[in-house]
Subunit: 568 residues, 2 copies
């Protein structure tokens, strides 16, 4: 099959997938082309084995990507599960060489029809799904995510988010008709013009990935930029390079196979000692910056970058308000699970739990503040006590910094005489005895301690705040959301009038809210196509990964017009 046929076949092959994704973006129903379980019942026994073997084959070796401008090799990754360096080294390319290569590649990519670019992105997603068992181990041993979460959250769920952004990009480009006929009389003359509207990409996109959950934000940014015609330079966090190396390798292979320059997607490897993002984004040709990471660096970008597109997701303080519940155990289990998941290293992890100081109503009668708090602690204990469950839910702690955060809070609690409702401590991982683990610290606090809990504490810690009332709790939670940022808020109440009063406050704070959710679904699970992520209305970031605003400015429209030939 020649190249033209191959490209056409790819467009045809993925057109139904893209159309289905666009439909899901419209209806916001549950949909995915992927299975988000690693079960061998779905995948058979061979793929998991092969994925693990592929991962093991990478350890201690250079990860060859065939990139330009390679000046040396570097690798700083240490497995949170084994405490050992992975020993994988990555090509360190000169930033200027990556930019020059992207510039050389971008003309042909810009000239490709949007449907082809979209199909190539879909193909990259499908290939990544195919390699997801390998990805699972790379994610585990860089971020500390558990096996099942690494498989699902960093695999299909992230790919879904990427396809969702791709669907938005496809929809935005399809909305611009490529040609039009314009006919109207001017005075006594009938004017007929043929008009052509060309989508012109904005420029090189820089995708700066976070350390703990790199693929989930990177895929939407990569696909949104690529589909709209922009080359992409991926800048992984130096402690979690491997997942993005696999993503970049896969993208480069798909591009090459279809006759495009692989340098449309490159990896910019740096070290913590010598960061390179600033140098890349300062370049005139780099016109789009997608950033996921710390609020501090995010804020710096948000207050200094001008004349370029900047999309940020940083972090905030996620709260739960417990005003009243039907079933106390079910509600506390839901919160305990969300707070324990990946040891609270997620942007959706709850950190502050508001419970009225005089207790709450439940279907089984009134329950005191202490009893609510104890039920939550019990539910965390139930996870922490069961090593298999703890391993599956909590995984490992990526960095020493999170242990330090918790240790600092323990010291602060002692100093300030705070009640420690649950002490933090490691659990012994069944497969990895050297894993860096930590079960959540739970502190009882009061509103006067707000400066203690009103900033993101990146690690397994929960503050249970004895609020004056449910109403006061909602007011403080939403004020916190508005001023400190939030990505997910949670509310439990059996009082519909209370919920109705609370909703506008959350809306004004730009806080996405999950109400009264218990049961099998993680309350902090954000479903692609259905759940919006960052609202852009508070300091947790300026961009939703998957809405029209995320894609609409990545391309511009240039037109030409001329008289139609007479009689046309």
């Amino acid at each position: 099959m020649d190249l033209i046929d191959k490209r056409a076949a790819l467009v045809a092959a993925h057109a139904p997938l893209v159309a289905r994704a666009i439909a899901a973006v419209g209806s916001r129903e549950s949909w995915s082309p992927f299975h988000d379980t690693p079960s061998t019942k779905v995948h058979g026994p061979e793929k998991p084995r092969a994925g693990k073997a592929a991962f093991e084959g990478r350890l201690g070796r250079p990860y060859e990507l065939g990139q330009p401008g390679v000046q040396g090799w570097s690798g700083e990754e240490v497995s949170p599960y084994t405490g050992e360096p992975l020993g994988i080294t990555y090509p360190v390319s000169e930033p200027e060489a990556l930019i020059a290569a992207a510039q050389a590649a971008q003309g042909e990519w810009a000239a490709a029809v949007p449907a082809l670019r979209v199909a190539l992105c879909a193909e990259i997603a499908m290939r990544l799904y195919d390699r997801n068992f390998e990805m699972t181990h790379l994610i585990m041993h860089t971020t500390g995510q558990s096996y099942t979460q690494a498989f699902s959250g960093s695999g299909p769920n992230a790919l879904d988010r990427g396809l969702e952004a791709l669907a938005h990009a496809a929809r935005a480009m399809e909305a611009v008709v490529p040609e039009a006929e314009y006919r109207r009389p001017f005075g006594r003359e009938d004017v007929a013009l043929a008009k052509r509207y060309t989508l012109v990409p904005r420029g090189i996109g820089l995708v700066i990935c976070c350390a703990s959950f790199p693929t989930w934000n990177a895929y939407p940014a990569m696909f949104a930029s690529l589909a709209t015609g922009n080359p992409v330079i991926v800048k992984p966090h130096p402690i979690a390079v491997a997942p993005m190396a696999l993503a970049v390798e896969t993208a480069r292979a798909v591009l090459t196979e279809h006759g495009f320059d692989p340098n449309l997607v490159t990896l910019a490897v740096d070290t913590r000692a010598e960061p390179v993002a600033g140098r890349i984004m300062a370049h005139r040709s780099v016109q789009i910056i997608d950033f996921t990471g710390s609020p501090r660096y995010g804020r710096e970008l948000e207050t200094t970058i001008t004349g370029k597109l900047l999309y940020t997701e940083t972090a905030g303080v996620n709260s739960v308000v417990v005003e009243s519940v039907e079933d106390l155990t079910a509600a506390m289990r839901a919160i305990a699970r969300a707070s324990s998941l990946f040891s609270a290293q997620m942007c959706t992890s709850p950190q502050v739990i508001y419970v009225p100081k005089d207790g709450i109503d439940t279907a089984a009668g009134h329950v005191s503040f202490d009893a609510v708090a104890q039920t939550l602690v019990d539910e965390i204990d139930a996870i922490a006590r069961d090593p298999a469950m703890a391993a599956g839910i909590m995984g490992a702690v990526q960095g020493q910094v999170s242990l330090d955060v918790v240790a600092d809070l323990v010291a602060t609690a002692a100093r300030e005489g705070l009640r420690v409702l649950r002490e933090a401590g490691p659990y012994v991982h069944p497969q990895y005895p050297n894993a860096r683990t930590l079960t959540p610290l739970v502190l009882a606090v009061e509103p006067k301690h707000i400066e203690l809990y009103a900033e993101e504490r990146f690690g397994p810690v929960l503050f249970i705040v004895a609020a004056e009332s449910g109403r006061a709790a909602v007011e403080e939670a939403t004020e916190l959301a508005r001023t400190r940022g939030t990505i997910s808020c949670y509310l439990y109440s059996t009082d519909e009038a209370f919920i109705d009063q609370a909703l506008p406050l959350y809306e004004r704070a730009g806080a996405n809210l999950t109400i009264n959710l218990t049961g099998a679904m993680w309350i902090n699970f954000a479903a692609a196509y259905s759940d919006y992520h960052v609202t852009g209305l508070n300091p947790a970031g300026n961009a939703c990964l998957t809405d029209a605003a995320f894609v609409a400015s990545r391309f511009r429209i240039v037109q030409s017009r001329r008289p139609m030939r007479p009689g046309a």
Copy 2:
């Protein structure tokens, strides 16, 4: 009729109009609900008379708007046609009072359904059309536009552009489904969630208007912000307040009639001595800035504003490349008309005309550079010599500054020994003998004079550049577009291969291109719904007034989700 019925009736009344506008935005065909001629055959004899009387009734009197925080009255307008002050004074409100009033108004406006906000904007447009003869005189006597251009360009054509932006906003909001049901199994549990997606406006919008063509950019910005739920503060240029006062007055009346707070739309009047825009945009609640005006101030905003939406249209250097033509006279007439229209005070006015130094091919044979230039001069003379035609096309020069620009160039030309092909000079306006008029200066230059012609000269001046070749002309024209900015470029060539080679260069420069257009339509006419305006790819501005990118970020999406009731 009570308020609820009145609002419902308005939505029903304008739904077909909005749907039709959305269809036109999709097809980009020629369409308008308005007549863009002031002819009494269309409007009857009474409306023009009443409009003129309304204008005359405003002279020398305060323009009452019922605004909050009025600290005094101010008016600096001088008619370019009479040289006399208009004597209209406007309420000068404290910026903080306008912001506070907008904040007070915005909750109810945000809570209104998008379709109602869209319908109210459509109603404002219809009312403005109804008052367009009054507007025509206000435009004439502040900007200097001719009667017919003031009627059409600042009336229906501008309202069309506003409705076009409104259609984009309506389409973007409609694309977000307000509710969804989400059902999927998690483990053995079937989860069913009801999800709600709320459009949350971004914040107060500041619309900074230019002096010479205020309504054309203001309407899209006003309607885009209002429709998406944001209050709007309109900051007119102090020498052209009246048109925006009429627009704000009309908007406030429509809002009041339909039970909304009129302070959703206010006028921020300032003076050249004490500008107020900076104070307004510094306020935290002001989240959107739409700026039309000088490249200098625009550049300052583009390089300093962070954390807010900023949409700019400034200016650039528009060029015409004449490589070859079918009919020399027709082509030169088209250029002469565009260059004479409103004395070249338009963002689409050509300034630089490239003609190969060895002449060009025409259907009638080869023609020398000098003959091409002389034909252009002759066509300008034909307009300038006929006072009625000059009055209709050239109108008046708004500010002394434009006369100074031309005088400076005359001096420079003498100093540098440039060939003056046509001297600038006033024409005598048939109705207004004191009108500030100036017919175009035409200079012959060479590429070595590039610094002379490569920046915007805001006034009636044309540079005819003796280019090495057509190819060299396109290269320089597009390089100029890329580096200095452009809003409209023009190309004449009978060589299809030449055009095919030129097109990608214009596209890469983000230059909208009109090819081989002659005849009754102004070559610099930009048709709403069909022509895109600023591309955002060069220094002439970062925003197209009427695309998805112009509207998509003016609102954000906040969601809530909760379990559906069993059995639902």
